[in-house]
């Protein structure tokens, strides 16, 4: 297991989970339990890939991601009777996943003030603006060209390089579709903090993609010439 995710081998294996949640599971009437099981199994089967993908983006480690999904599924099953509207299951399950990740982190991974100040001093970075400098506007559709060339692993690497607090808010808002208010509640931070982290995270992400595109020669020819002159 690797930091920042402090997995505890065996804690979320089937036998351990049964012992941990047996008291609350035993309280369900048999008919409810049967329909709950059918609903829950179908939903988890449907969402397994997305739960795992989101967990992997948070933990950076396949084994830790699997532990996180198993813990999420167990907690969701135990809490299912409290879910009033089952149409909200998906968002609710992702909230449990995010809450579990955050509460299990070995220590808060707060972005240092220096990192935030540095990003603020450089100003909001916009990939679109970089690709649309006035003297290059004749160049067709540079943003589409770059998006076509960026691989999944390029974006994955840029996301993984974000400070943990920034990456977490991107995962909550962009992957899970949580609102700013919901993200603030999950993270236990003010709404303004979610806004500022998201803004800095997107700036850092786009800056990283721009730098990667330059280094890997993914930019249109005119951009490459421009940076030879830099």
């Amino acid at each position: 297991m690797t930091a920042p995710w402090p997995g505890t081998p065996g804690r979320w294996e089937a036998g351990a989970i049964h012992a941990r949640f047996a008291p609350c599971l035993a309280q369900r009437p048999a008919m409810t339990l049967s329909s709950d099981r059918a609903f829950f199994s179908a939903e988890i089967e449907r969402l397994a890939g997305r739960l795992y993908g989101t967990a992997l983006r948070l933990t950076h480690n396949p084994a830790d991601a699997e532990d996180l999904v198993a813990e999420t599924v167990t907690k969701a099953w135990a809490a299912l009777p409290k879910l009033a509207d089952r149409n909200c299951f998906e968002k609710w399950a992702f909230r449990i996943l995010a809450n579990t990740y955050i509460s299990n982190r070995r220590r808060p991974c707060e972005v240092t003030a220096a990192t935030a100040a540095e990003e603020d001093a450089q100003g909001q970075f916009s990939l679109f603006d970089r690709l649309h400098q006035p003297f290059l506007l004749w160049w067709g559709n540079p943003e589409q060209e770059l998006l076509n060339k960026l691989l999944r692993e390029d974006i994955e690497r840029a996301l993984a390089a974000l400070p943990d607090d920034y990456r977490t808010v991107v995962v909550l808002v962009e992957m899970q579709g949580q609102s700013y208010a919901e993200a603030a509640e999950i993270l236990s931070v003010p709404l303004g903090t979610v806004r500022s982290r998201l803004s800095r995270a997107r700036s850092l992400l786009q800056r990283a993609l721009w730098e990667h595109a330059r280094a890997a020669g993914l930019l249109p020819h005119a951009h490459r010439r421009e940076h030879v002159r830099d």
Binding site: I17, R50, Y52, G53, E66, V73, L127
Partner: protein, 81 residues
Amino acid sequence: MSVTDQDKIRCEEVIAHLLQYLDGEIDGEKRAEIDRHLEHCRGCYSRAEFERLLRRKVAALGDEPAPPALQRRLKALMEEF
């Protein structure tokens, strides 16, 4: 910049609010103003499309095939529930 008579909002303001708009965090009249602006302004529309496509690529990272070991583990868990 492209401002028509119907626009009550300028490109600078649209750009300043664009990410919150795309996140669904702007409602009501302000959202309607941005909607109308994007219908007329090619530059802002292109910017909005770029940001939409980029975040779609980021969001796609949250979908991975669940490894067989995890699938077996979840099945074992649910048999205990």
